[in-house]
Amino acid sequence: MSSTITKVAARTESLRKVYGEGDASVEALRGVTLEFAAAGFTAIMGPSGSGKSTLLHCLAGLDTPTEGHVFIGDVDITTLSERLLTQLRRDKIGFVFQAYNLIPTLTAGENITLPLDIAGRDVDRAWFDEVVDTTGLRDRLSHKPTELSGGQQQRVAGARALVSRPEIVFADEPTGNLDSRSSDELLTFLRGAVTDHGQTIVMVTHDARAASYADRAVFLGDGQVVDEMQAPTAERILDRLKSLEV
């Protein structure tokens, strides 16, 4: 994988996002320029309302920026039609949300293969097995989401995000609803995907301990990038956050 280390999986160019119009308008992003290296695990942090989710949504093609560009690989997704954007999400992007990640009528296994089924692609059995084994959910594959714990559900969501080998996985507070043990399980799983399989992950989190699993932490404040940290640890992050909030 060493040759791809320098490759950029996604990047933004002076991204601006304004919600609403006139006096009531809110500038959620005020010119964000960032790069996400392939096979890197980035944590995005910052106070509430600083624009983390907005950034992630713009990156994932779920929301259209007011100004600026978003590239996934070499493709400028701000110019894509709705149909192509949908296909891009299906084929190149994986998601893990904070909650409601799974379709209740499908089993865990079916939820994992959902993006492939939607695309009508064949499941790569070996890769599927590998992903499933790292989640430790092999014996739960035929269960419906309501029969799984919150942590298990999030790991299923993680497996789903990985199974189609997307170029990049976005996660918005994936541990937000989990206790510390379940959080650790999910984060270990995500970390493993990066280390062992060269997956690119961008994760929004409030939790310094969660961010410490990442290779790099980006700090947002008031819609702008205010700091960055390589190989963050929980203590350093907490210190940095304290200084930001003051």
């Binding site: 994932a60 929301d63 999400r89 949300f97 209740p104």
Partner: protein, 851 residues
């Protein structure tokens, strides 16, 4: 709490509109029926008023009872009255206070359209022949015309003339009981303000000509009297009655009008009841949709309701809030429904006119009763359907506000018990209604059918899951289809009750299809078994024709047997109405094989005898040698000796008498059918060609059919009738389609996050639409399957109940039922259009962050 209700109503406008639509249509149809029939009644009222405007007193023969004029179409003009001897006219004229008195005769007269050579008849409207009354005419001559004078002139109603482009001075052929001849049109008449009397055609001759043509030489049907104003019509009538011999009445013009009005009332009463049934079915289907919608909404609002409860709202307040919502929806929908009904009545009026019943241009009659009944009905049904959801809402515990859960639903066990009970009671009252021989059977059958539908609907969630899974199987190959199938399965109650609404409409369609197929199959089988004639002469639209045709043919060497049959006059046995058949006992056995249980049909050649069907004989405990009393309108009660008991068949109704007995008691002495058998050795093709040429020239209304054609004609008539029934049932099917739209719409709203997730992970809009469509098709086909089962059951029960009157074969029209399933699937697809579009249009971001 009330404020919250109103707010929640307004917040869900769309749901309100969709829910209300079901009630709007049902109420609309009901109100439309009332408006239409009231308007028709008013038109008739006005008309009869105009017809008798100049007439103070009418003299006519005494009638044993007032026969229902009616629905049955027919040649018209055939009053079931004894003739009045001409010599009574001078004595009536001599009564003090009489200014004018005129004799009048009426019969049928078919005008032949010179352009087509066919008799003119619009739909089922009568073709009336009448004599011209110079002084008391209810008709007004149009300018440029003259009254008919002499044996070669005729006056025609302006409506018929206008429709068929006839002109004064033109020659036109008119077929009357005694002749088929050409006449010169001397003028056109109108009826007060209207140029047509409800679509009937009129041919009016001068009195002597009319008497000859209608075979009333030396007699009248009526004497119309106008007073000189010196006494009231009542006094005048009493005075005239004094000079009349026994068997004749003098009644005032007003009461003659109201007598006719009564006859029309009865006919319209049937029409009203018939149409109302469809309106009620529509409302019944609407009730299911209301029930379903409110149930879903209560589920979706569980948390909100729980919050109210946590904040201190009483159970009763919660329940009231749901019921108030229902009442508002019901009332608003009913008000709109009444307006829709008025528009619908205009449409129905045009439709009825297209079938031949042209109502004069009277303003629509919107009776207070129409509005009241419609509003009460619509509102009550809506509230009643919401009671169970409201009770469920009131059982939401305050703690639910904190939990991720929904309103409790009744236990499966209770549902099974209640559902089974309702089904059993429904099937039971259906059975009693059909087989129990009780009075008011119609209500019992209706109630039984409704309860059966409700019971099956209650039980259907139990089977909805397996059936829906099976139905979903073909779609499982692709993810959108699979998800659609799973969605249909995820809430079996919701799926089942949505399907149940469709079940009702399609169940009734199936029932009608099975019944019609059984009827056709049974009757054609009976025709095969019974008919031995080679040819049958029948008149189009069942109107009878002159016996001269048969008389002429009986001397023809082409035919070995010529056997006329007469039918149409109403008679009474005990309190029940029947239509006896007049036959020629000497020839009937040559043209028909009639299975006798006892006695013989030839025994009818004795006067005052009757043959009775086995069913009727069993029901009335009649045996050969016994007597029965039959009451005729014209001659009153007659004692008839039973000479034979026959197996029910297609030709003879319950009672058969000889032509002699028939003519002795019935005024309208016309043939309805003539059966012919070729003589041996005759070239049949030539014989038929000659016959057809004769008929085309002199009896243009008569059709010549061989056996196969007779069967085909019969089948066509049945199909035409049931086509109307299908059209009326479409309304309920349409309403249930709205039910599917509504359920899908509400479900989407509920699954908004899920849709967002699917779109986020790359599901295309097209796939989302496909998913919704699959769900809709599964619901629709499930409803159709349930409808098929219930409908076939109903059809079978009906066939069993009517097997004694000759519907002795059960026929299940498989091709038609398969077609119906396909149509159901299409309905599902149509119903999915809007919800699918809505789901596909969802903003992904808003959907995933939706709280």
């Amino acid at each position: 709490m009330l404020r919250a209700t109103v707010k929640s109503l307004l917040a869900r406008k769309l749901r309100l509109v969709l829910t209300a639509l079901a009630i709007v249509l049902g109420v609309g149809f009901t109100a439309g029926t009332f408006v239409l029939t009231d308007t028709a009644l008013k038109s008739f009222d006005d008309l009869f008023g105009q017809v008798y405007a100049n007439t103070d007193v009418v003299v006519q023969a005494h009638q044993a009872f007032n026969p229902t004029e009616g629905g049955g179409g027919g040649g018209g003009g055939g009053q079931e009255l004894n003739p009045i001897p001409e010599r009574l006219l001078p004595s009536v004229r001599a009564v003090p206070g009489v200014r004018f008195a005129e004799g009048s005769v009426q019969s049928f007269a078919q005008i032949v359209d010179p352009a087509t050579g066919k008799t003119i008849q619009s739909g089922g409207a009568p073709t009336i022949g009448s004599s011209w009354s110079p002084d008391l005419s209810p008709f007004t001559l149009e300018p440029g015309g003259a009254p008919p004078v002499g044996p070669h002139e005729v006056v025609i109603d302006a409506g018929t003339a206008g429709d068929h482009h006839l002109t004064v001075g033109q020659q036109v052929r008119v077929v009357t009981p005694a002749a088929s001849d050409e006449y010169t049109i001397s003028g056109f008449v109108r009826f007060g303000s209207s140029n047509s009397l409800l679509g009937a055609s009129f041919a009016i001759f001068d009195l002597p000509t009319a008497q000859r043509l209608f075979q009333r030489e030396g007699t009248f049907d009526f004497i119309y009297v106008q007073g000189d104003g010196s006494s009231t019509p009542e006094q005048l009538a009493a005075r005239i009655a004094g000079v009349l011999p026994h068997g004749f009445d003098a009644i005032t013009g007003t009461s003659a009008a109201s007598q006719q009005q009564d006859q029309v009332n009865q006919g319209l009463g049937f029409l009203r009841t018939g149409l109302l049934v469809f309106g009620f079915v529509a409302l019944f289907v609407g009730a299911f949709i209301i029930f379903n919608t409110f149930n879903i909404v209560v589920t979706q609002r569980s948390r909100e309701l729980a919050l109210f409860r946590a904040l201190g709202a009483m159970r009763r307040q919660v329940m009231t809030s749901v019921l108030v919502e229902a009442a508002v929806v019901g009332l608003v929908a009913s008000v709109i429904g009444v307006l829709v009904g008025i528009v619908l009545a205009i449409g129905l009026k045009a439709l009825v006119a297209a079938v031949g019943l042209k109502l004069p241009p009277t303003a629509l009659v919107i009776a207070p009763r129409t509005v009241l009944v419609s509003l009460v009905l619509g509102t009550t049904i809506t509230v009643a359907a919401a009671v169970s959801p409201a009770r469920r809402a009131s059982r939401v515990a305050p703690i639910e506000a904190l939990r991720e859960s929904t309103a409790p639903s009744s236990s499966i066990r209770r549902r099974v018990i209640v559902g089974t009970l309702v089904t059993v009671v429904g099937v039971g009252s259906l059975a009693v209604g059909l087989f129990g021989g009780v009075s008011n059977a119609g209500y019992l059958v209706g109630l039984g059918a409704a309860l059966t539908f409700v019971g099956v609907a209650m039980l259907s969630p139990l089977i909805a899951r397996p059936i829906a899974s099976t139905l979903g199987r073909p779609f499982r190959g692709r993810i959108a289809g699979k998800l659609g199938g799973e969605n249909a399965n995820r809430n079996p109650r919701r799926t089942a009750s949505t399907a149940a609404a469709l079940m009702i409409g399609l169940g009734l369609v199936t029932f009608v299809a099975v019944f019609a197929a059984s009827l056709k199959s049974s009757v054609t089988a009976v025709l095969d078994r019974t008919l031995r004639s080679d040819l049958m002469l029948t008149a189009s639209q069942f109107s009878p024709f002159s016996p001269q045709l048969a008389r002429g043919l009986s001397s023809s060497p082409d035919f070995s047997a010529v056997s006329p049959l007469r039918q149409g006059a109403e008679a009474k046995v005990g309190s029940s109405t029947t239509f006896p058949v007049g036959i020629d006992p000497a020839t009937i056995t040559e043209v028909a094989s009639i299975e006798m249980d006892a006695g013989s049909i030839t025994g009818l050649s004795e006067p005052n005898t009757v043959a009775v069907s086995r069913t009727e004989a069993d029901g009335k405990h009649l045996a050969v040698g016994g007597t029965l009393r039959m009451q005729f309108a014209r001659t009153g009660s007659r004692r008839l000796t039973v000479v034979g008991i026959f197996e029910p068949n297609a030709l003879l109704n319950d009672y058969a008498v000889s032509l002699g007995t028939y003519d002795a008691n019935v005024a309208q002495q016309l043939d309805s059918t003539v059966f012919l058998k070729y003589a041996t050795g005759v070239d049949q093709a030539t014989a038929r060609a000659n016959l057809e040429a004769l008929v085309a020239r002199d009896y243009p209304s008569v059709e010549v059919n061989d056996q196969a054609q007779t069967k085909a004609t019969y089948v066509k008539q049945v199909d035409q009738f049931f086509a109307i029934v299908y059209v009326l049932l479409i309304l309920s099917v349409l309403i249930s389609a709205f039910g599917i739209v509504n359920t899908l719409g509400l479900s989407i709203y509920e699954r908004i996050r899920e849709l967002g997730l699917l779109r986020a992970v790359g599901m295309s809009r097209r796939q989302v639409k496909r998913m919704i469509r699959v769900e809709a098709v599964i619901i629709a086909v499930l409803g159709a399957l349930l409808g098929l089962v219930v409908g076939i059951l109903f059809g079978w029960a009906m066939q069993r109940a009517l097997s004694s009157v000759g519907i002795d074969r059960l026929a299940i029209p498989f091709a038609q039922l398969v077609f119906m399933l396909i149509v159901a699937a299409l309905i599902g697809l149509l119903a999915a259009i809007w919800p699918a579009r809505r789901a596909a249009k969802l903003n992904v971001l808003e959907a995933i962050s939706y709280e």
